[in-house]
């Protein structure tokens, strides 16, 4: 390919001016299809870069010589279609229509025919010879795909040349094919997408009306098609050119066919789909196949639920078999020893100081820190499930159930986000347009068990239920989901009134987990948890201790006992004594405080450990009731703050807090009254 003179392009027109004496080849294609690579390969240093007239879009043109013939080559801006959605798209089609290059080479990707053939489906409507460069054949092969270039050529009725632009393979053949098309002169008749009968008739009707007024450069049938597609640039042009009464008639036809935009695009996709199905052979091995096989069960409306239950069960199983013994060891070997050592070191200190350190700080914060193994396993389990790609499927399966029950589809987002934390769940309701629907979704979002509440359950269940902890915590989560479904159904019936909404999600392929990612996630959450333990939990523990110590240095006559006994009647409906009731109240700033408060009030420093003390002190019915109430109790402070922020109303915030308070007391009472009678 020899060097040649590079023409200076006109600044006022699309044409190549002086260099137009040579055959002109235009390179068209979607972005990232390798168009510029081909351009650079062919023109080398013989290229000129400027701007398209009146636009800030880069214009690149150059020339090259092959087999003794010099060609002008113009690199059209990358465009997804020929509808004037962007300056690039308008430039590309205006150039082709007005300058009429001798041939247009459309560069498409063999690795993504579905996307890149859309431009071909549009360009075949223009009166210009087309050659298709099937680029990235190597990428397609690397992905295990085989693209039949000859079959594609037959399907399109256009010359198709396989190319690997990055390796300069097939580029000469491409230009020779283009040269042949230029030389033959006779335009090829490419196959075109079908157009639905009624829209085709509308195009004909519009065409008949506008034909006398369409500028010479534009084919009337193409202009009619673009009008029906709602192309703004063409509509503006024809509105100026047509007499007002003709425009009115055209406009009436357009209004009557307002779905033509979708119908025409649909026809193109049908055309692309049939071509792709006939010329592309895809692999059925490896990761994709594994994902498909697993998803037959994991996303199945029925089996998916069982898989989800099984997975949740496994998480609890690992938590209890590994985390609970570690928790017990930490309690005995670290917290108790620390309490003993502190007691000895502070033996000569005032009693209140010794009690603050031993019962308040070590009893509260220390007890929460023993919680760490359970949390680490919990976060690691969920991190693992996310990293392998399962969590998105869990949300999908849950939504399937809710959708079958008639729940509003927009509940999906809070559900999707809420498993981690209720705060983003509430923020996720921003997708809901209706204020009333949004507020009611905000009200139910905290029903989704967040990780903090699930972790508290994971701590309490083995403490209260020993070997049965696995089944109890599993049942708790099921119960929470059941309540969520019931409330959601009521919401759908009362507020959304059957209104439909939809989401499309792309789930990740299952893949081998990245231990570093999971480790990082666990590390971040461990640090965040320890920070919480050192701040909010420490403060709450100290306050709880102070209230439980003063005025007489004895729990039963303390301020806290006074408060606790005052609210004890409400707790008694749920089988909770004042200490459990206070533990519940203290969980408002952060859910984990419930454990810290129990540590302070029930006593973690005792040799038996908190778990054993709890099991010995409270009946099964009380334990069950306490766990259920914990699950449905007022959301944490951060969640309440975000409810206030998102509703911009203290009234709704108060209603939310009140609703959860009433609900938790109601459910706790029912559970206790039933369990106590069994």
């Amino acid at each position: 390919m020899n060097a040649c003179h590079s023409a200076n392009p006109s600044e006022t027109s699309y044409s190549l001016s002086a260099s137009h004496k040579f055959p002109v080849i235009a390179l068209a294609g979607q972005p990232n299809m390798g168009k510029s690579t081909i351009f650079n390969l062919l023109t080398g240093l013989n290229q000129h870069v400027g701007n398209w007239p009146g636009k800030t879009v880069e214009r690149r043109e150059g020339c090259f010589t092959l087999d003794g013939t010099t060609y002008n080559l113009i690199d059209l801006p990358g465009t997804y279609s020929l509808t004037a959605n962007s300056p690039e798209e308008e430039i590309a089609r205006e150039y082709v229509l007005r300058e009429k290059p001798d041939v247009v080479i459309v560069v498409i990707s063999a690795a993504n025919l579905e996307r890149s053939l859309y431009l071909v489906s549009e360009i075949v409507h223009l009166p210009v010879p087309v050659v298709v460069a099937l680029n990235m054949v190597d990428v397609a092969e690397h992905e295990g795909m085989k693209v039949d270039a000859a079959g594609l050529s037959a399907a399109l009725n256009l010359p198709v040349v396989p190319v690997i632009a990055t390796k300069a393979i097939g580029v000469r053949e491409l230009i020779r094919t283009a040269a042949q098309v230029i030389q033959d002169g006779a335009p090829l008749v490419p196959n075109k997408p079908d157009i639905r009968q009624d829209v085709a008739q509308a195009i004909q009707a519009v065409e008949a009306l506008i034909r006398p007024y369409v500028p010479a450069d534009y084919p009337a049938d193409w202009v009619a098609l673009k009008l029906l597609e709602g192309d703004t640039a063409i509509s503006r042009m024809m509105k100026e050119l047509l007499p007002p009464e003709t425009w009115e008639t055209v406009h009436l036809i357009l209004r009557q066919n307002d779905d033509a935009m979708v119908v025409l695009a649909s026809g193109r996709y049908n055309w692309i789909n049939s071509i792709v199905r006939s010329v592309v052979e895809r692999p059925k091995i490896g990761q994709i196949s594994l994902t498909e096989r697993l998803d037959r069960y994991a996303t199945h409306p029925l089996w998916g639920v069982f898989v989800l239950l099984g997975v949740l069960g496994l998480v609890f199983f690992f938590t209890y078999t590994i985390g609970a013994p570690l928790q017990a060891w930490l309690n005995t070997a670290v917290v108790n020893r620390l309490a003993d050592t502190a007691g000895i070191l502070l033996a000569s200190s005032p009693a209140w100081l010794r009690s603050l350190v031993v019962d308040g700080v070590i009893g509260g914060v220390g007890m929460v820190i023993t919680f760490l193994p359970i949390l680490v396993i919990f976060f690691a389990s969920f991190g693992f499930l996310e990293d392998i790609g399962y969590m998105a499927r869990a949300a999908y399966v849950m939504d399937n159930i809710m959708h079958l029950m008639g729940l509003h589809g927009k509940s999906f987002l809070p559900l999707f986000l809420g498993f981690g934390c209720n705060v983003p769940a509430i923020m996720g309701t921003r997708v809901i347009d209706s204020r009333s629907a949004r507020i009611l979704t905000i009200l139910i979002a905290p029903l989704i068990p967040c990780t903090a509440r699930m972790a508290v359950i994971a701590f309490l269940a083995p403490a209260f239920f020993g070997n049965r902890a696995f089944w109890v915590s599993w049942g708790m989560i099921l119960f929470a989901v059941l309540v969520l479904v019931i409330v959601g159904m009521l919401l759908n019936r009362l507020v959304f009134k059957g209104e439909r909404s939809a989401f499309i999600m792309e789930m990740p392929l299952y893949h081998i987990p990245n231990l570093r990612t999971i480790g990082l996630l666990v590390w971040q959450h461990t640090i965040a948890f320890l920070k919480k333990a050192g701040t909010i939990i420490l403060i709450v523990s100290a306050v709880i201790w102070a209230l439980s110590y003063f005025p007489q240095g004895e729990l039963n006559s303390s301020y806290l006992a006074l408060i606790g006994k005052w609210i004890a009647p409400v707790g008694s409906w749920m089988g909770l004594d004042w200490r459990l009731t206070v533990a519940l109240l203290s969980s408002f700033p952060a859910k984990e405080n419930a454990i810290a408060t129990l540590g302070v009030l029930v006593g973690s420093g005792a040799e038996a450990g908190l778990a054993n003390l709890l099991a010995a002190t409270y009946s099964t019915a009380t334990a069950l009731s306490f766990m259920v109430v914990t699950l449905f109790f007022i959301p944490c402070l951060a969640t309440v703050a975000v409810i206030r922020q998102e509703t911009a109303s203290w009234k709704w915030t108060a209603l939310s807090v009140g609703m959860f308070l009433v609900m938790s007391i109601g459910v706790g009472t029912v559970v206790y009254q039933i369990a106590a009678r069994l």
Partner: protein
């Protein structure tokens, strides 16, 4: 095909791209392309909770949900705007 896709999602609910591809007897690549097209038409809207929500959240994106990569990385989520 785009019409079939629209008809499917107009029934409401959450749709997985793989499942849509099966129902349309097409490839996931094709469904992705059509989804991008519908997005360009303004009929659906990409939803990125990680960016949109976490940035404005009181917790400053430090919560469990916002930290998990799936939300912003591997899962693409679109809200269907028009359900006629």
């Amino acid at each position: 095909m785009l019409e079939e896709l629209l008809n499917l999602i107009r029934t409401g609910g959450v749709f997985d791209i793989g499942l849509l591809a099966k129902k349309l007897n097409s490839s996931e690549q094709m469904v992705r392309t059509m989804i991008d097209h519908l997005q360009q038409m303004g009929l659906i809207q990409a939803y990125q909770p990680g960016h949109a929500v976490c940035a404005q959240c009181n917790l400053g994106g430090n919560c469990y949900s916002c930290n998990k990569g799936d939300l912003t990385g591997n899962v693409r989520l679109f809200e269907v705007k028009l359900l006629r």
